[in-house]
């Protein structure tokens, strides 16, 4: 599997957020996207996910499902958690597992991120870090080759960050790809870096 961008450009609100972007990652590789705020890190992730239109250039994902758009083969972990406050943690997770095409059991995934005792608690009562971990449980539960992570370690304490690093290593070892946007290191030792910003 291979994710390749050639001369990629993104235009939002009439402004070129970035242009002339080139990168390629293979199975088992990770790309760390850095840059100051406003450089376009989040836009790049949303563009790969298919939520923002490509205004110039080409983005290809080869080796996966032939006719499915990239978005359906990727997990997008954005700034928001996509959790409904009135549903319990387990119900939220179970819904996403069912909607995104099935995978591991919700209970096992909650275990993997250390949220098993909070399974029955309404999501409204979870702290920011716990909500983030719940979103990460979704990545663990449903198998998709490409992970698009937007500042995944925000709101996570040290223990949760190392747990996330473990999950990412396991994903890469299984042949997955990761594109992560962050301000600093997030626990991926051998990630390639793509720095966005003015030349």
């Amino acid at each position: 599997m291979r994710l390749q961008a050639e001369n990629l450009a993104c235009n939002r609100g009439g402004r070129d957020v970035f242009a002339g972007l080139n990168f390629a990652i293979e199975a088992g590789e990770a790309l760390l996207v850095t840059g100051r705020n406003g450089a376009g890190k989040s836009s790049l992730l949303r563009l790969i996910a298919g939520l923002v239109r490509v205004s110039a250039g080409k983005l290809t994902f080869s080796g996966g499902a032939a006719d499915a758009p990239i978005g359906e083969q990727a997990h997008y972990l954005g700034h928001q958690d996509a959790l409904k406050p009135s549903l319990s943690a387990a119900e939220n997770l179970r819904f996403w597992i069912d909607f995104l095409g099935g995978g591991k059991a919700a209970s096992a995934s909650l275990d993997a991120v250390g949220l098993a005792p909070l399974a029955g608690l309404p999501a409204a009562y979870l702290s920011a870090g716990q909500r983030r971990r719940l979103s990460i449980a979704r990545l663990f539960a449903v198998a998709r080759p490409l992970w698009l992570l937007d500042e995944p370690t925000s709101a996570l304490d040290a223990a949760a960050q190392s747990r996330l690093a473990e999950l990412m290593r396991a994903h890469l070892a299984g042949g997955g790809l990761i594109v992560a946007a962050a301000h600093g290191p997030i626990g991926l030792e051998r990630a390639r870096e793509l720095k966005l910003g003015p030349p």
Partner: protein, 248 residues
Amino acid sequence: MKMPVIDLAKPTKFLALVNRVLPWLIAGTVIFFAVGLYRALNAPDDYQQGATVKIMYLHVPAAWLGMAGWGLMCVAALGTLVWRHPLADVAGKAAAPIGAAFTFVCLVTGSLWGRPTWGTYWVWDARLTSELVLLLLYFGVLALYWTAEEPGRGARAAAILALVGAVNLPIIKFSVDWWNTLHQGESIFRVAGSTIDPSILAPLIVMTIAFTLLFITLYLAAMRNEILRRRVRAMRLMQAQTLAEATS
């Protein structure tokens, strides 16, 4: 992390008081209902309306208790907003559904009572219309309680609405009366005769007391339930947080 403050002192004493008083209240309610129903069913029929006038024994207490419920909510509202009494939230929340239920009973009995007289189940006369608006105001307060995620926030919002409603209720009543007299001639309705015969008055008073005791019984029980419900919620929250801290 949300850690609610549990003020255990006053609610505990209150719960103890309720548990002691409740059996007496239930007994009193049953006795008054027994006496009242006996007197009511044996009271004379109205010369015009026949036996249907006996709905009055249900309708009049329900009307009074519907309004008393709102008054209770206002006192509780002052407790919440002005005096910050810890039980005020619970007092207001418990009063709302019971007051609404009695208002609803008042409307239904008024409608059934009027059916033989008017030929329809509903007519827009001043009294029933005011009761209907009161019921809508109750629904508003109930909606506030039900849609609030935290009990405290909902209670404060409902308290404000209760007080605003209380100020507005006389105005609404006045305007509905005025609106009704504008259209007088299309519907004329009298609750009972202009004077109430003592043989009807006595059972009415007994039934009113019986219903009032019922209200108080239900109300205290509802307050107790709400206090226990909040405790359970707080304990669940604490348990979940300590568990989460242990495993993270």
